[in-house]
Symmetry: D2
Subunit: 416 residues, 4 copies
């Protein structure tokens, strides 16, 4: 099974936008291998526009030339990914990352390059041609490069098969497919074709759908055809967005399970926006970062670090290597909120092994606040022993969990 | 805490409509005490129109006279509830039921009788008068008797306090308040006043709100102010309605917890509609009844029997006394669906004590169907032992649960 | 034909609310007969609550007693309308007003008194009873007195026939029926029953429906069953409401015609709100009053004066007796806007006799503004002669109409 | 003033789709000059895809090459328009049509060719380049060729100026701009730029916007910036569509006036769909064609013949040369419906010269039906003389107009 627990890794978008280079990818991979791997972090994902020689920041450049093979499949821009020279694609980079014991992922847009259709290129392994299956009226509203496909033509599946065959040959382990997760109903069939293309390749590749919000009423379709899918639009280091995630988390939490994970987007921690400003740092307070990590774990969302990791300070590294917290991602199930008000939110998550459960307390206000939670509110008989994962504080024989929390801060108890 | 686990009992509506009599209530109470009480059944609830001397079936009679005290509070019609004679209200009946070791409940409409306002009656324990707090423009669209209250006047709380004081003096344990659960936003404040009226009485009375669908976005308000609330309109013995409950159950399941239970309405089993036809029997197949009981238990919905119990056949009695199933109501938590398609639905619910979990398989099709579920789909390592609650079948060392299910049938496994 | 041109008259609401008395009605009738009648003003209408002995201002008094005959038909409160004593109803007042050469109108609510249903009164001329045809769930949301009728029962038509028979016997010429014009779709059938009740009476009575906004898509139904219907909610002396009327006028103008007139509500001019404050005067500027009168005439809306007329100052009297303007109500057709911007609005209306046309210029801004209009914009060849109706200014041989207008002011040209 | 009365002419779409040739255009122009010109018909309009060498029917061919000049402006395909050879564009064809005393029009799509952006072509007369002002996310959903423009960049106006300069140099008199009239709000600014481009050219060119339905609430914007705009989606020879036009006509009629005309689309009469089937003929009955012509004239919609005129039969030619009917387009104003039911519709339109008025009666049913209309219903005193325009029947001294009409037929009376 692919993605038996929520995928954990790093993604280049938050720090390098559309312009990440091979060397930047590698330096983060090396950091991950050295510092994070023991805690479950493993995916290294190159985000959007890796086929564009011209990208320099978070912007897209309309009508610029993308690198493409003779079958209309995008390939890495050699000026940014030198190891791709000689038609090798991402194979050398993937191999290097695999050598570190990590996994390699890439971003794709749904559809095919507009230029492939304009040039009437053949589809690899098919008698169809690109211009026959491109749908000139199915476009992305924020990226100028691609056409969606005419999904009821057999050649459309052929095209998706051809690109996943290429990615499998490169050794790709993770595909973040863009312009698709919120595009129901018109992209529902296209999701199926992409998922089948992945299957036909024979290689295990996590299929991640972006951007959100994906529609809740399509939960079962998403669970069937994808391994993770975004539940909001792009998430950045802004309290309002973090605050709003509680509502989305509540709606989606029951849909988390092995092989299918609602995705709350990258973790904007540490050094962000490096392509625009090397001094840029997350705008989240430490309390807010604890809240984010706690919520993502309690809902079992995938964890994808967004910052340039080699610049991590001590706080950030510790944040990302809190084993007691990260264990929730692996060992809990059925996590859900039990109380939600304007001021506070409380989540509970049983352990799958029956050895107790987790309780997270969130202070949503702008003031320091004492939160408490009676174990009887989840019908658990006390007294019990508990341990708070951020402070390490032990509580013996309690019937009420308590925490004095700074504004926007969180506490997470493991109750035995 | 009131309603620490989902309330279980009997309600007079499905069999007697607006016309139930004291003798009918008592014969059902006696049956419950004798046959059902050991399994957790305890509430005996008299539904709507008990103050109307004229009611004969499920209909309401506009402009008929209701029995009322001098403070505009409805009292039982003596022709139907003889023990209420002499101003004793429901106290004698409640006492009789308490003697059986059971609890007693009644139905109320929000607001006050129109006649109380018209007659400018005083409010008991208050300087306000009925006509001052009645809101002639807040009416029920299906029952002609009542006005809602002007909830920002202090006299409105006084009126609700006065009726709950009366109910407490009678020994009432359960209030089903009608014309309110789906009436957000205009009844939001009225819910609070009613809940406070209950609290001010000093007596533990379950507060149940009807009819549904209550709005999902008001879940926290409902959890705060009520003990149970309807999640659909009236539920009857019709597969379409049962089929539709799966969607509602999915949306509401995370909101079930001690003191607050989403309510899927009465169980239309056995002898129904007795006031119209003494031969009337549930239209549900036995398979459908198993599905209903299984779903209600997995979502921890309150269980209120709708049929005339003294006519129960052997199947019905066994259905209502399946201890292994009913245990789910008490011992599980965090139950939720893990797979939902047009053809089948699968729910899982951990036990609170960590000793295993429950898995329910539902066949939603019109054909016999083999369902199976890999324990790895909920990340549970096998092999495990399991026992199916309807058949009693034991499975040793399995990694996949399986059941051959008749159309609309269900299987529920306890996995150790 | 009833209401061959738009009805013109006076209504008691704006100055006396729910509390007008016979003497107040008569003093206004005498004023109309003396000063306004030659200009086409003729209806004198007693607005809401004339059956309530207790009304003192614009408020309604819930649960107060209304005067009613033995058939559940409301009759005038004798303390306010002394001539109604002895069961004569409004007959003596109507006769007095007829003697002045004027016409008499009354307000009614749709439906029947709640008390008539509660008391199970018989319906005059019918075998049905009030409580059988009252619909306790069809109520007005702002007035506490009435129930709508169950319109598919024959007794409902009987009840409406019975009240119109009474009104005809009194000599009523105009019925303003309330709580109905915006109550589509559920009151559509009730409108028909009321209209038929009027027809069955055999007496010519204008049928006017309130309040608005009536739905535009029901224009043909309204034209078929009523003589006038409100196109907005209550209109008062507030520029925002007057400004907003331009949009409604544009939508409704093509539906004005003999026997059916979109109604822009009363003219709040002169002495208003007398029941609350005898000093109260219209808040409209003189310019705004010219704009209101001009727009109402160009769209051929009914004209109902709202002020206590005996207090009219010279300006108000002249406003209401501008013969050149009021002629538009009688002699134009097909009036409609030809230009509408945020700053100005221009209407044109041909004369039915082919002898030229009218052009109205409206300054909607807060500044003095020069407006002009080329006759070629309505394909009229010039040069032409024109006369402005408010200033009397004559323009000879013009091809462009021009006016320097104060804020919110209007000019209306008759072009020969 | 451009389009002082509603434009009348011929358009190639209904008979030749995307594939019309110069010879086909000329044969229709010659027919018009000879048979129709005296009745006001004058525009000859070449519809969509004249720059495509490959078009053969009503379809668009994605990713095919369009003819374009070095500034990204589309030019006629020489294989279809031989006179365009040598860079002459449509100038020779326009000249030929002008020589016949007629006017020449062309279709355009909003925006610029995608190919012009991809090739980074310069904009004529501007320092901007095509790819700078093309908006790759503003596309048409049914035609694959164009990008809309980024309307807040100055270069966008430059591009529109450049194409209208070219059209003016060719002698174009009429522009039908497509993919725009129903694209509010996002195309509102683009409409203004196109209108200004037309103005800047210095040549009188009617600006017609397609397709509909344009939004009614944008009537004033449309009146300000365009000469005609579509009020429905494409109109074909189908009674349901014709029936539905009555509702649209009612909503839009007051917005017809010199320079600005709501457009009910082409008249699908005679020989249609010639590019697919030379035998194809209008599916409208003769009665329906009379109804269509009568309604279009009463609402003063532009008249654009859709059929291949050289194949006109006697009926069709007479239909298009009924001078008494067509006079309504020129001489009426303020036309509007006065009665509209499921069974019939009646319109009235005064003459601008005050010499009487027109009344049209429409039978909307499937049965022969006797319609009548009292002149008093529009407050016209009788008796009057009238003449029916389709039959020529004279009525002397009538007060009621009457017609026995076949299913879907119409009668139009001129009343003196």
């Amino acid at each position: 099974m692919i993605a038996k627990t929520p995928p954990m890794g790093w993604n280049s978008w938050d720090c390098y936008g559309a312009a990440v280079t091979e060397e930047q990818v590698l330096q983060n991979a090396r950091y991950m291998a050295e510092h994070l791997k023991p805690y479950g972090w493993e995916y290294v994902v190159v985000d959007i526009q890796w086929s564009s020689p011209a990208a320099i920041n978070h912007d897209y450049i309309p009508f610029s030339d993308l690198c493409m093979d003779e079958f209309g499949r995008l390939i890495p821009a050699k000026n940014r990914f030198p190891s791709a020279a000689g038609g090798k694609g991402f194979a050398p980079l993937a191999e290097e990352i695999h050598r570190m014991g990590l996994k390699f992922g890439i971003h794709i847009m749904r559809g095919m390059p507009r230029e492939a259709a304009r040039r009437h290129l053949p589809i690899e392994g098919s008698s169809a041609f690109c211009h026959e299956v491109a749908n000139p009226n199915s476009i992305c509203f924020w990226n100028p490069d691609m056409y969606g496909l005419k999904c009821d033509l057999p050649g459309a599946q052929d095209y998706y098969d051809s690109i996943f065959r290429l990615y499998a040959s490169w050794g790709v382990d993770f595909i973040k497919c863009d312009d698709i997760a919120r595009e129901y109903p018109h992209c529902q069939r296209e999701i199926e074709l992409i998922s089948l293309g992945r299957d036909h390749s024979g290689r295990d590749m996590v299929l991640s759908l972006s951007p959100g919000p994906a529609p809740l009423e399509k939960a079962e379709h998403l669970k069937t055809w994808a391994n993770m899918w975004r539940i909001t639009d792009d998430f950045w280091d802004d309290w309002k967005q973090l605050r709003a995630m509680f509502e989305r988390a509540e709606k989606w939490c029951i849909h988390a399970g092995p092989g299918h994970w609602p995705d709350a987007d990258m973790l904007p921690v540490g050094a962000l926006r490096q392509c625009e400003d090397p001094e840029s740092w997350t705008g989240f307070t430490q309390a807010e970062q604890r809240t984010m990590m706690s919520l993502w774990c309690m809902m079992r969302a995938p964890l994808m670090i967004g910052g340039e990791m080699t610049k991590n300070d001590d706080f950030t590294l510790k944040l990302l290597t809190n084993g007691a917290l990260l264990e929730i991602e692996k060992e809990s199930w059925a996590g859900h909120p039990v109380r939600t008000s304007q001021e506070e939110c409380i989540w509970v998550a049983p352990r799958k092994d029956g050895q107790g459960f987790y309780v997270a307390l969130f202070n949503l206000t702008e003031e320091t606040r004492a939160l408490k939670f009676d174990l009887s509110d989840v019908e658990q008989e006390g007294p019990r022993n508990a341990r708070e994962v951020w402070t390490g504080q032990e509580c013996q024989g309690v019937i009420t969990l308590q925490a004095e929390l700074a504004p926007h801060d969180a506490a997470v108890f493991r109750v035995d």
